[in-house]
Symmetry: C2
Subunit: 450 residues, 2 copies
């Protein structure tokens, strides 16, 4: 602590109880635990300094930005230093011709999109929260556009990383593809702060499409939504967004955002392209939806109602939780092969009903990724246990059909117990890599792998 | 050797000089070196057996399939066992609804596409050679469709890998995306046989597009090709293929394949989509090409001339080398950011002319990846040195502008010398990973990293 204060600007180090508390929790049901100190880094050099001191004294370091994790990633379960990079929030370079940007880790996704708009560019990955790009890279976040544009891992070209010993590396290059050396960028993306601290990111960005059209396709049941989604994928339509929201989410969103969407299971769709091609795609999608019993195919084609639609979708989890003040959010995040999706989602909806919990289903159905949201009374061990049992049952099904326990939220604390079941002996390889890169075990201990 | 013969079927182990010689070389200018033995594996269990014996006696193992590497990947520079998996060539499962297939590593790309056709599916990655899918995964191969569909790494969902000690793991899952554990699939793809032996691959496949159109856009100079390519990308046209071939390649292909394409620098283009959208894309591309001085915009829209076009492109390197019997092929493989491409390709063309070597330029220009092919007299050290100096100069330029020394061929023997310059201290991380996973150093020693 003394050394931190000596080597860093005085106001960079804090042990203020409120500050510690803010850095001891995230947005999930996981129990908070305070760090011993918070360091506010302003530069890569600050991060290097912290890592050197931490390595010398074998103190845990937990990178922290927005704190919007839903799996406890940023909770300092063994104390140590919470390394806050929110002040590292500069967009350093925009290269329109290369479709690349260079940003610091504390830049948020909406901040980046505001800066890109004048160039006719956008960054597609959009988790519900206005998360930091560093955090999004650390968990391989994704969102509503992944079905077309891919996950965070697909956007990161290069990372500047401060390793546990204070060494600085670059993991990739600016080339669109490379067969040079091991794919470190892919390894560090999704490593959840266990291999190093990101201090700069080169990200791929995209030209705003010539024409955009948003659509709400309403169905009598969840199964109609899922079957339509599968058919749209099967027809090879390059849909840009394809989201499932059940009637409970619609109800919550209407109350939270003042919208008046019909209270039925709905697909939120978006199409990007040239006008002629897009019109044809929309027509095909409409025919497929009608074959599955679509009740209404509503166009939100003007910019305002389109924005409103996606704001509604992004606020879905918050809207749902707002109905249950004082409760904590538990969310499953399984991802299954497309052919298993209809069964998986229908079973999940029935399971929530049968167990009588406060639950809803929504998800990025084009990826086979869906969430069962449960409002949990975190003070009632029985309620927590019931929600955990549901979570476990959905994960078991996903793993049995070749899926994953987490499509986009990451492992953190909540999904550690499924790692051995999902990865088998590959977990030993992961452990070997972690030990090789962080032999002292100071990077975000207690997360991802036990 | 005795142990190999005891533990494996008798005909699986060979020390026949012709067999050894066939496994001691690849398609490049790199000097051959024979293995001590060749083992023909028929199953994962055979591979496990070989790895256990090799680990026990600390003998190098070099995975081998088609041998179409152009960077010496399969050459057993330290002797040992060449592990031939060509007999593991079964397509084990096709899941049309999930757009997934499960294959053994010896299956070739054309074999897979033949099997997929009845399902209306195709596998996009297409290096020039009819390479094995295991080898393509090992080098993160790509090809003409990468601009739209991505590299080999983008297609591999899961690998079954036999580790250096004989342990078997799966690196991924069948889910379209995952945030669970470290991204081992991405790490093993492109690891060039240095981390383990692939025994099964789950690959993503795609629906055949509704409409396909191939086009040859002819230009007075290479620069017009490159500028058009940049403009097409900038306009956000989802072009499926965009290939540069210079006049020397056209000449060689005409002689080799009996075609009669005009002898000028040409862009080979292909568009995929619904008829309305595709027509609009082609029209926009044509306008952009004409702005850059396009001399001719020839449609190869019927299936036969389209097939002919891509066969011509795939045979380009062989056609070029056929003009110089007895010479070996050296090819650069740099990949640069799009904004640097016009300068890079023009400089490369001028450099080849100035040095007076037998050289030609072609490449996957939509990715910023181009090849300077040089026919080298491998018996003349001066000629080899001159070609290497050209290679080095092009690599230096690519690295200086943030690119990579190899976009798709891999490091093997030929690009090792550039690894430190390209990766800096990240090379130490790669070495740490290699040591952690292969502590005995028996997996393809002498390749990728020194």
């Amino acid at each position: 602590m003394e050394e931190l204060k000596t080597r860093l600007p005085k106001d960079a180090v804090s042990v203020n109880p409120t500050i510690l508390e803010q850095h001891g929790r995230d947005e999930s049901y996981h129990a908070p635990h305070n760090p011993d100190a918070v360091v506010f880094a302003k530069s890569r050099d600050d991060v290097v300094e912290v890592m050197r001191i931490a390595a010398k004294h074998r103190v845990p370091v937990i990178p922290f930005a927005i704190g919007s994790s839903v799996e406890g990633h940023v909770i300092p379960v063994q104390g140590g230093i919470s390394l806050d990079v929110t002040a590292m929030n500069q967009i350093l370079e925009i290269r329109p011709e290369d479709f690349l940007v260079r940003v610091q880790p504390g830049v948020t996704r909406t901040q980046l999109n505001r800066a890109l708009k004048p160039y006719g560019l956008f960054f597609p990955v959009d988790p519900g929260a206005d998360a930091s790009l560093g955090g999004m890279a650390a968990t391989n976040a994704s969102g509503t556009t992944t079905v077309r544009y891919g996950t965070m891992r697909d956007q990161v070209r290069d990372l500047e990383v401060v390793l546990p010993g204070g060494e600085v590396i670059h993991t990739g290059s600016l080339a669109a593809k490379s067969s040079s050396g091991y794919h470190l960028t892919g390894l560090f993306v999704g490593s959840e702060g266990t291999l190093g601290v990101f201090t700069e990111l080169w990200l791929r960005v995209y030209g705003l499409p010539e024409r955009v059209m948003a659509i709400r396709a309403e169905f009598p049941d969840v199964s109609g939504c899922v079957k339509t989604a599968t058919a749209v994928l099967g027809a090879g339509i390059p849909v840009a967004r394809m989201e499932l929201v059940d009637e409970r989410i619609i109800e919550a969103v209407n109350a939270y955002k003042g919208t008046s969407y019909p209270k039925v299971p709905t697909l939120f769709l978006e199409f990007h392209g040239n006008p002629e091609g897009l019109e044809r795609d929309v027509q095909t999608a409409r025919e497929l939806a009608e074959e599955e019993g679509c009740l209404g195919f509503a166009f939100d084609s003007d910019e305002e109602s389109r924005q409103q639609l996606w704001e509604a979708r992004h606020s879905a989890a918050r809207a749902f939780m707002a109905q249950y003040p004082g409760r904590g959010m538990m969310t499953t995040d399984v991802c299954v092969p497309i052919s298993k999706m209809a069964q998986a989602v229908t079973d999940a909806r029935e399971l929530l009903d049968r167990e009588g919990v406060y639950g809803a289903v929504l998800g990025h159905i084009g990826d086979g990724n869906y969430h069962a949201l449960i409002a949990v009374d975190t003070k009632d061990p029985e309620d927590v246990a019931r929600a955990e049992a549901i979570n476990e049952q959905l994960v078991e099904y996903a793993l049995a059909c070749g899926g994953t326990c987490t499509g986009e939220h990451g492992v953190g604390l909540g999904k550690r117990k499924y790692q051995e079941k999902e990865h088998g002996r590959a977990l030993l390889v992961m452990k070997a890599i972690r030990s090789a890169l962080d032999p002292l075990g100071i990077m975000n201990p207690g997360k991802l792998i036990d």
